[in-house]
């Protein structure tokens, strides 16, 4: 097969990838989108195998078999709560693959390498290796292997930025002296240390943004590899992935009212920010028994359920769905309010609820549902906290101030199910607890909801 013909097949792949993303715009066409991308990648791989004759078929088969043996169980078995971890792993794998190809290409070209190629390759390797180690740390934090709290110390940012500067400086020397392989390993080392420090310094609550940023880096390093190999399919696919990560990161950081730089270098959650209520008198929250809550819910005509990550931790999404069913049977209108950062990665909460068989037309985005709280009888908050705190609107000295929140406080009654009175990720007390129309129910979300459902069922 001639090289030209391969280029046309690559264009077909590019077209299929673009269509795939277009079809992801709605649920009804989304599966077609997935299959279009699969077709695109199959065409790309087959075209490459025809055009570039690989001598070592044994190694190729080994790699493909290993990839299938590892990949298929991940693809089939991973639970929906663990999808963020799996995403971190896939960013780690993807960026390591790209970084290793970069190293190979550098060694391959040897003495004949020119300075522009070394410069682009260096950028590609730095990006690849820092994304690799950063994604490993993100995985460890999401999986709970290490603490989700940011590990920061005095001068943390100065140290990590100096290491990044050292990596770039080493890359500059490598451009001048490409035959000094020691510089290559030094540069990789600096990139790994920088990636490690960067993500260690970021808190668990910021993971949705971090994952999106790592997504973007992984894409950019793939695009950089495309420049080196003069492969336009790689450039386009990398750019699509890079821009996707960028947009998701922007949506996430906007939803937390923070800038990228603040997420990356802010170290929020490192210590408790004690901006507590200083209004004078002691405030008291009213705790209620489950029967009282059941009585209020039994007469409600409209209910909005506000799920947060705490719901997923308590594995309560199926009970939440059952509560919704019981209320629907009683002729009550039930909607779910989804905050953009609910969960551990962009869109995570929607997936968790879809897994529990909640129909997606019951899931409402923040912008659409906020005006409806005013005419809602009861808002039930399960495992969410900071994203419901009215302090974001009312207290300019609060760390949450300015963050877009769900206007739960505007509902006629509020039921807040919570394990304890502890603060959320931001370390701030929730003003919602102390509103006169808030009913606090303390306990494990799953147990409370199970009892609540039993209590509702016993009412006629």
């Amino acid at each position: 097969m001639s090289q030209d013909f391969v280029q046309y097949l690559y264009i077909a792949s590019i077209l299929l990838f673009a269509l795939s993303l277009k079809w992801m715009s709605g649920v009804s066409t989304s599966r077609r989108g997935n299959w279009s991308a699969i077709l695109g990648i199959v065409i790309a791989i087959l075209a490459t195998l025809f055009a570039f004759q690989i001598q070592r078929i044994d190694l190729l088969v080994l790699a493909i078999v290993a990839g299938s043996v590892v990949g298929a169980p991940i693809g089939l078995k991973v639970s929906m709560t663990a999808v963020p971890q799996r995403t971190a792993v896939s960013h780690a794998f993807g960026s390591l693959a790209v970084a290793l190809v970069g190293v190979s290409e550098f060694l391959q070209r040897g003495q004949s390498i020119d300075s522009v190629t070394v410069a682009v390759l260096s950028a590609e390797m730095i990006l690849g290796f820092l994304t690799f180690i950063g994604s490993c740390i993100a995985f460890a934090k999401l999986q709970g292997l290490i603490s989700g709290r940011p590990t920061v110390y005095r001068g943390h940012n100065i140290v990590s930025l100096s290491i990044l500067a050292a990596a770039i400086a080493t890359a500059a020397f490598l451009v001048l002296y490409p035959s000094m392989e020691i510089l290559l390993f030094l540069m990789i080392g600096f990139a790994l240390i920088f990636g490690f420090l960067l993500v260690m310094g970021i808190g668990g609550a910021d993971m949705p943004t971090v994952i999106a940023i790592l997504n973007s880096y992984a894409g950019l390093s793939a695009a950089a590899l495309g420049f080196i190999l003069d492969n336009r399919l790689l450039i386009v696919a990398g750019a699509l992935d890079g821009s996707s990560g960028l947009i998701l990161a922007m949506i996430m950081s906007q939803a937390m009212n923070r800038s990228f730089l603040n997420v990356l270098f802010g170290g929020v959650g490192a210590k408790k920010t004690d901006v507590e209520y200083k209004g004078g008198q002691e405030r008291t929250a009213q705790t209620y028994a489950i029967e009282d809550v059941a009585t209020v819910l039994s007469s409600a005509k409209s209910v909005i359920i506000v799920p947060g990550y705490g719901m997923a931790v308590a594995q309560a999404q199926h009970v939440v769905k059952e509560l919704s069913d019981v209320l629907l049977e009683r002729g009550c209108n039930v909607k779910f309010a989804i905050h953009p950062v609910a969960g551990r990665m962009p869109g995570h909460m929607n997936v968790l609820l879809a897994e529990a068989n909640v129909p997606y037309d019951q899931l409402w985005e923040m912008e659409r549902i906020n005006s409806l709280f005013r005419e809602t009888d009861v808002a039930v908050v399960v495992g969410a906290n900071d994203v419901t705190n009215p302090a974001a609107r009312t207290r300019p000295n609060s760390p949450l101030y300015g963050m877009p929140i769900l206007d739960v406080d505007k509902a006629k009654s509020i039921v807040f199910i919570k394990r304890s009175f502890g603060p959320g990720f931001a370390g701030v007390e929730n003003d919602l607890f102390y509103l006169p129309n808030t009913m606090m129910v303390l306990g494990d979300a799953k147990n409370v909801l199970t009892e609540l459902i039993a209590s509702l069922r016993s009412m006629k």
Binding site: L60, A63, I64, A72, I74, M80, E105, V116
Partner: protein, 101 residues
């Protein structure tokens, strides 16, 4: 002598910039409902970098390089397999009220 990368740099940069704009416009219209499967999908798409590993594999007989690219092919293929499977699994879960089961 100018290298290959320099000759085509301008055209490739143009392609990169246009593809980024295309990506931003396409992703902006993706429903928020689907951001998790979107990330799984774009991740699988970017694993098309497997072709870079295949190309280097075809050009080299150096032992170290062959080891590195074999690992790269394995990692990228893991992402391709698991990425598309997870995307499919997640997308199958989304259903409307009337089309339950």
């Amino acid at each position: 002598m100018t290298s290959l990368i320099q000759q085509d740099l301008a055209i490739n940069l143009l392609i990169f910039v246009l593809a980024t704009f295309l990506g931003i416009e396409l992703i902006r219209h993706v429903s928020r409902l689907l951001h998790t499967p979107l990330m799984a999908l774009t991740n699988a798409i970017s694993s098309v970098s497997i072709i870079a590993a295949l190309i280097v594999m075809s050009e080299s007989d150096n032992r170290l390089i062959l080891i590195l690219v074999t690992i790269a092919v394995g990692l990228a293929f893991t992402n391709i397999v698991s990425g598309f499977m997870i995307t499919e699994r997640i997308l199958r879960m989304f259903r409307r009220h009337q089309d339950k089961n």
